[in-house]
Symmetry: C2
Subunit: 224 residues, 2 copies
C-alpha cells in the first residue's frame, strides 16, 4: 500500500526564545525539519511527502539548501490559522488509497521501527497511533482543589506520526473543527472506531524549548 505523510510545520517559535521557528534551528549540523524529512524518505523512498508551511516561514524553508532529489519530491501546502486548518490543507494534496501519516516537523527523532509499526497498523486496521508508557505517578484534577490518583499503568503518552487510511482521515477532516479535536486521533474517532495504539519510541520528543533541542542532540545518536 502506497504511503504518504503530511508534515506539519506551521508552529511559531515563541517558546524557543528565538526569532527562528524551532523546526529551522540546527540540530547536529542541519535543520530539525531536514532530519524529520530524511527519516521519512529513509523509511520509504517512495513516500509521498506534503509539507505544510506557515506563509511567513517560507523564507526559512527557502534558505535551506536542498538537493534536487528532495526539492522535487516535497509538495508544499499553505499553513492555516490553527493546526486543524494546517492538517486539512496538507490532506487536500493526498490521494485516496494511501496510508497517510500526520507528523510534527519538530519530532525528528521518531525511529524507523516506530514508523513501521504505525504504517503497518494503519494498513491492517485503519489507524496506527504511537504511544509510550507513563513513567511518573499521575493525578486527575477534580473540582475545588480535589484530585484523584490515576493508574499510570493504564495511561499512554501519545506521539506522532498518527497514521490512517487516507480516505478516512480526509473524510474526518472535512468536518468543522470542534474543541474536542485535540489531535488527529480525536478527529478520526469522531467518525470512525477507536484508534489502534502501537509502541512509539521514547526518544521521539517534540522539540518546543531550548532544553528540548539540547536533549535532542544527545538523543540523536541513539535513534535508528
Amino acid at each position: 500500500m502506497k504511503r504518504g505523510v503530511v508534515i506539519v510545520a506551521g508552529g511559531t517559535g515563541r517558546r524557543m526564545e528565538s526569532e527562528i521557528p524551532k523546526q529551522y534551528l540546527d540540530l547536529h549540523g542541519k535543520p530539525v525539519i531536514l532530519h524529520t524529512l530524511e527519516k521519512f524518505f529513509h523509511f520509504d523512498p517512495d513516500m509521498k511527502v506534503v509539507l505544510v508551511l506557515a506563509t511567513d516561514h517560507r523564507k526559512f524553508w527557502n534558505g535551506i539548501p536542498l538537493s534536487y532529489e528532495y526539492s522535487s519530491r516535497i509538495e508544499i501546502a499553505p499553513g492555516g490559522e490553527s493546526r486543524y486548518d494546517s492538517v486539512k490543507s496538507g490532506l487536500r494534496l493526498m490521494d485516496d488509497n494511501l496510508v497517510v501519516g500526520i507528523h510534527d516537523a519538530v519530532r525528528p527523532l521518531v525511529s524507523l521501527k516506530t514508523l513501521e509499526r504505525c504504517y503497518e497498523s494503519a494498513a491492517e486496521r485503519g489507524s496506527g497511533i504511537p504511544v509510550i508508557k507513563m513513567e511518573e505517578s499521575v493525578r486527575l484534577v477534580k473540582e475545588q482543589g480535589h484530585s484523584v490518583r490515576m493508574d499510570r499503568l493504564k495511561l499512554r503518552r501519545v506521539q506522532t506520526p498518527q497514521v490512517f487510511k487516507s480516505e478516512m482521515i480526509k473524510e474526518a477532516y472535512r468536518q468543522p473543527c470542534e474543541a474536542a479535536f485535540t489531535d488527529d486521533a480525536a478527529v478520526y474517532e469522531s467518525l470512525f472506531e477507536t484508534v489502534s495504539l502501537v509502541k512509539g519510541n521514547r526518544e521521539n520528543i517534540k522539540i518546543t524549548t531550548p532544553t528540548d533541542l539540547q536533549l535532542a542532540s544527545i538523543l540523536i545518536r541513539t535513534v535508528g
Copy 2:
C-alpha cells in the same frame, strides 16, 4: 514549624547500564545524591535529614568525602525490600510536630521554590505534593485494545518531595503495605483527606537512565 526530609536512596542501578547505583554517579563534579542533600540544606539549614540507604550501597555512600558539618547532621536509616519499607524505616527516625518531606535521592533538580511551596502547603493544609502539567496527549487503555482520550489539561505528573505533617504520614505508614500504595500521597490518602497539590518545577526529573543523567547536566544550570 521545624522541617525534616526522608531521602530515599534504596534503588539499585539496573537500568543505568552501570555497576554504580545512579544516585552515586557524577553530575557536574559531584555525586547526584550530594546535590540532592545540599538542595535541602540550602533551603533550610535546620532541616532534619534522614537518608535511607540500601545495605549493600553503604560502600558507595562511605566513598563520598563529606564535610563534618554534613556527616554529623545526616542520620542514616537502613533500606527495606520495597520503597514502602524504606520510607517506613526513614520515618521511624522522624519526630512528631514536623513537616516532613519524602524525596527521591535521584531528583537533585528540585528547585528551592518548589520546596518552599511543598513545605508551606504541608504546614498549612497537612500536605504538599509537587505536580506539573502534561505536555502531550494522553490516552487511557481499556480492555481489548480500546482506549479513550483523556483531557490532558486535567492531568498532572507527580514529583517529589511529597510533604506531610509528620504524625499523619507516620500513622499512615504504620498500615500494612497495599498494592494501591503507589506513592506517599496514596498512603496518606488511605487514612486522611485528599492531598494538596502545588506547582513543581519542570527540571525536577527523576534520574533513571544514562540519558536522564545527560539531561540533568544540561538542566542543572537553570535550577535555583
